[in-house]
Symmetry: C2
Subunit: 363 residues, 2 copies
């Protein structure tokens, strides 16, 4: 890494699949879901060996920024870019690139989610260094994750020809970004050997992503140029808010990457990556006992129970399970969730249902 390397943490999202622990006003990245540190704190800690705090930026929303500054005081306040309202990762990437390009015309940046788990930190550092080198050659680079099973919960990236040249790690041109597949299609992807999970981690030159936005997303490009022209002036807040209001919500994957030129993927195996996307993923991240049970922040008395997650927030409370298999039990003060593990994705539907019926206190 050199002085032109930056990390941008995307932390605006809400995420509903870890409800009832993750809530409207305390989203999962701000919670110590996997231990002492919050996911946001871990994300920052993974980066500090590579980037000084001055070169770590955070894009988030007002409600979350204060809590983040509390959790990681060392990131300068100026490095928090506050979205007036969330507009998807294309807008986030464009905003961060715009701000960084003003600061440093040669900026190369990694755009990283704030709420993922990565077990193998050394490999992550190695891959990020390799990706920055490829990005310096004007590629839009993405970290792919070598699939471990035919997941229908992730998007996929299909790789093509390998890049040539002096590379620290195998890198490939990207053929396609693919939406979450059905299970049968996912099995085909797994067997193909040329598909990676889309981790949502991107590395590129600031001017390279802005050029692609200019080419493919003219409305976003216009907004970013307007914002750039007033950035740091008295008009910043007003112009930023009015430009942002009119944007569509689009992901960078589909808004930019799918049809960009010079897109490359580093397919990473052994990273121990997990998007902590739903309750069943915690089986992969936390350490289970020999019956496959995982208990966190709770007294769990298991009796003929297997592959069951018991997640609480009160060590005084005793949770007894008898004859349960493949079950997720999440116990907060006001809500109890009992869910078949393979249906943990449906927690999102429950949250939608509660929203629709205005059960605000449970959201």
């Amino acid at each position: 890494m050199n002085e032109h390397s930056y990390a941008v943490i995307m932390a605006g999202g809400g995420g509903t699949r870890l409800w009832p622990v993750s809530r409207k006003d305390r989203p999962k990245q701000l919670l110590p879901l996997l231990g002492e540190e919050t996911l946001f704190q871990s994300t920052v800690a993974r980066l500090t060996d590579l980037f000084p705090f001055e070169r770590i930026l955070v894009v988030t929303v007002e409600e979350q920024a204060r809590e983040m500054q509390k959790q990681v005081a060392a990131i300068p306040a100026d490095n928090y870019l506050i979205e007036p309202e969330p507009r998807g990762t294309a807008a986030v990437a464009g905003l961060a690139a715009t701000v960084l390009k003003q600061r440093d015309p040669n900026a190369v940046m990694a755009v990283l989610p704030s709420d993922h788990f990565i077990r193998n930190r050394n490999l992550f550092h190695y891959l990020l260094r390799a990706a920055f080198e490829v990005a310096a050659r004007n590629y839009l680079v993405t970290l792919g994750i070598t699939p471990l099973y035919p997941s229908a919960a992730y998007g996929y990236i299909q790789q093509g020809e390998p890049l040539t040249g002096d590379l620290k790690y195998p890198v490939y041109r990207v053929l396609h970004f693919k939406e979450k597949p059905d299970e049968k299609t996912a099995q085909g992807f797994l067997r193909s050997g040329d598909h990676s999970w889309n981790s949502g981690m991107f590395i590129w030159r600031a001017d390279a992503i802005l050029n692609e936005i200019q080419r493919q997303m003219p409305k976003l490009d216009a907004a970013l140029k307007k914002i750039s022209s007033v950035w740091g002036s008295a008009k910043q807040t007003e112009v930023f808010a009015s430009c942002w209001r009119d944007l569509e919500t689009v992901t960078v994957d589909y808004g930019v990457m799918e049809h960009a030129e010079n897109v490359a993927v580093l397919p990473a195996g052994g990273l121990g990556w997990n998007d902590v996307g739903s309750w069943d993923t915690l089986f992969e991240v936390l350490f289970p006992d020999m019956d496959g049970n995982v208990s966190a922040s709770v007294q769990h008395l298991a009796f003929e129970t297997h592959n069951t997650l018991v997640y609480g927030n009160n060590h005084e409370r005793l949770i007894v399970t008898i004859g349960m298999d493949d079950t997720v039990i999440v116990d907060t003060g006001d809500v109890l969730l009992v869910c078949k593990a393979d249906q943990a994705q449906k927690v999102r539907d429950v949250v939608e249902h509660l929203k629709k019926h205005q059960k605000e206190n449970y959201l």
Copy 2:
């Protein structure tokens, strides 16, 4: 019923299979498990059409007597017989018969559990009247329950020849009392057509049961005679306690009934009887929705959930189930139980485990 007819409610037990709602100091008969009334209150209410309060007795232990008197103020204090410590239903039956015989040498008494559910109260009254008539002829009578399925959770009574004479209801000599069978044996009992569930409800003359105790249980007989001789005197408390301490704990079924002469059974179908013996029995007693789910005292949001009981004590708490089948969820302030319905009997083992490890606060 005439002025020699009495009802004796047995209410000393603890019962652990409805833990964590039923606890050491608030056993199930004192709880409003099935609605507004406690099981004890319902038991009394079932009897008041047949017996004035003066002829309803309660055998219980000190800790429970006060709460019972609060719940049913109309039963005279003298009608509470307080066991120094529980010694099983043979001792209870003997004690009640001893006290009643002193009051009324012609006493005929029904001995009834305090914690059962009976849907068809009119039929219960009819059967009890019929049983009292048979008991007046010096039979030891038991109410049998026509089995609805091959339960391994109940004891069984095998009937023999029908009694003859002017009877209001078919009554049979008892061939055998049988312990809880295994499931295969239970299937044989069900097919046989001559086996009833042992409901634990008995009707007999006080002197008839005392004669059988004298013949079969000489130690209990001696104790009862000693107690009888001081009953109502200053020595009562001391003698009662010292006699009781030395008794073995025996049920009346096996201590007396199995080898008694002149034992009769009224096999009752359609009574809607349930011993509320474990959590899965609540499916039979409470009204399920069309998916077979039963919710009590809780907000339950069911999603692809079937045949699942959700039992709580806090209407503010939201319990969400996704993809669950045949599950029992019981939520109290300090304990959460999640249990496969067909393993609800194992709650008893959990309570034993907690006892062994002195987790007093959860007992």
